[in-house]
């Protein structure tokens, strides 16, 4: 119990002193997961809508696979990305290993199935509602997808925030492909793992509390910006 208290004190100290190293790794965490989230959303949301409006032969199989991949172990994703980006691997010439780009690639792979699956669930219900209307209006498939994405945006925001949550707290993959290099690829979670390894539990917990606060702030900020949960809006 005492250590939890020490951790809270350490978090307070880090925040009050406005530690520049903390600011740097916090911003890098946000940058890596933020970019990964945008890229993943650009892939996953249209995919979710497509799975809702279009009937094709492997549709059920695709949905089942996406659902299963929600539980993709990050450490395995990290290892696969590592092997591909390694200098001895197929994409080694790009020299991307141990850069923030490699971390973004790994996180995109981890969160695409989550956003696509959760997004598809909500769009499917919406499609059941809109199906007759959109068909009677003789819309193109593109128009149907755009309509679903726009009218389902609040549910999709939840899907995207779930993806953000999985990415910002993830350590297994980014530790392997990023390497936890100070001032280059060190982020909140890998810094926590490092301090735990040094036995400095107070600092590790302090960083952990800061990370949790950061995740809450991001969620609040996005809800506020998109004005959900307000009167007369849903």
């Amino acid at each position: 119990m005492l250590e939890l208290w020490d951790g809270l004190l350490a978090a307070g100290r880090l925040l009050i002193s406005f530690d520049p190293d903390l600011l740097e790794i916090a911003l890098r965490s946000l940058q890596v997961t933020g970019v990964a989230l945008i890229v993943a959303s650009l892939i996953a949301l249209p995919l979710a809508a497509l799975l809702a409006v279009r009937r094709f032969r492997l549709r059920r199989a695709t949905i089942a696979v996406l659902n299963a991949l929600m539980g993709l172990p990050p450490v395995v994703v990290g290892l696969v990305v590592y092997v591909i980006l390694s200098r001895s691997g197929p994409l080694g010439v790009l020299g991307l290993l141990f850069t923030p780009t490699a971390m973004i690639i790994a996180q995109v792979i981890i969160i695409v199935p989550l956003i696509a699956s959760v997004g598809h669930q909500s769009l499917r219900d919406l499609w059941a509602e809109y199906h007759d209307l959109l068909l009677s209006m003789n819309t193109t498939q593109r128009q149907r997808i755009m309509t679903l994405l726009w009218d389902g945006r609040r549910a999709l925001l939840t899907a995207a925030l779930a993806g953000f949550g999985r990415g910002i707290g993830e350590v297994g993959a980014i530790m392997i492909v990023g390497g936890n290099i100070d001032h280059v690829t060190r982020v909140m979670t890998t810094a926590i793992a490092l301090e735990t390894g040094k036995g400095d539990f107070a600092l590790a917990l302090g960083l952990g509390f800061v990370l949790i606060a950061l995740a809450i702030m991001v969620n609040l900020a996005i809800h506020w910006l998109s004005q959900t949960e307000r009167g007369r809006r849903w």
Partner: protein, 268 residues
């Protein structure tokens, strides 16, 4: 509103740190990094040579793998036999000894196996095995793990059974485990002194020459991996073997104790 979100996110995308010209990736062992010596040496290297050394902190086994794949420019590890095999396979141009520290046997302060009275490291380990006192092994193919296995072999003991617990983790995590179970463990002195979660553990045995732990620098072979920064690696090696490095390494103290001893030979 969604457009604002997206444009804000795109702006974040564009703020990426500028690539540095003179950076060199070096894989080092967890024990070296946890000692805190890196925090002294890296700024000095940056000041003197302008090289930004980016450390990848991994076990010796993984460090050697990174070097063999050409993913780092140099490695600094401590496992002589594995290093010599690494050079023989053409992965590094040569092996240069830099400094040494030593391993210590750490365990519960009550010392149920009586290791503190042992005259040799192998006797101490034999006593632990005979008492079946809990012992935490790194079990991660690191330099420390290899050292531990060679000591068990020298003691004529096959470590197995309930008391022998291989955790497959770095030095810090293994020390945390040992602290949690109040078990014996072989650790390097630097990691032990810097470790913040000692609990009931105490340093019980040290000083046997067999426990000396030689660190060596191996630049990755540019003939095998043309993209490595061989010139920077040579420059770094010159710095690491210079009198300035000697002063910093010998002068590094934790809790008043000298951790590392510089022993690089001048180039022939």
């Amino acid at each position: 509103m969604f457009k604002h979100l997206i444009s804000a996110a795109l702006a974040a995308l564009l703020i990426t740190p500028a690539a540095r010209a003179e950076d060199l990736k070096m894989a080092v062992t967890t024990s070296f990094h946890n000692s805190g010596l890196a925090d002294v040496l890296l700024p000095a290297i940056k000041d003197d040579t302008g090289i930004d050394v980016q450390l990848l902190v991994v076990g010796t086994g993984q460090a050697l793998r990174l070097g063999a794949a050409g993913d780092v420019d140099a490695i600094l590890v401590h496992a002589k036999a594995a290093e010599e095999a690494f050079v023989a396979e053409g992965n590094a141009t040569h092996r240069r000894e830099i400094m040494y520290n030593d391993f210590v046997i750490v365990g519960p302060s009550a010392d149920p196996a009586g290791t503190a009275d042992a005259d040799k490291a192998t006797t101490a380990l034999g006593a632990i095995a005979a008492a079946k006192a809990p012992f935490v092994s790194r079990g991660d193919d690191s330099g420390t793990h290899k050292k531990e296995l060679s000591l068990w072999a020298a003691a004529g003991v096959t470590p197995e059974g309930q008391w022998y617990r291989a955790v497959g983790a770095g030095m810090g995590a293994a020390l945390n485990t040992a602290s949690g179970m109040n078990a014996y463990i072989l650790a390097d002195r630097a990691s032990w002194l810097n470790f913040g979660n000692k609990g009931d553990l105490a340093l019980l045995f040290a000083g046997d020459p067999v426990l000396f732990n030689q660190y060596a620098y191996l630049p990755v072979n540019p003939a095998k991996h043309p993209h490595v920064k061989a010139e920077l690696a040579v420059e770094l090696e010159e710095w690491l073997t210079s009198p300035r490095a000697a002063t910093l390494i010998d002068g590094y103290r934790v809790a008043g104790e000298q951790l590392f001893t510089f022993n690089a030979q001048a180039a022939d």
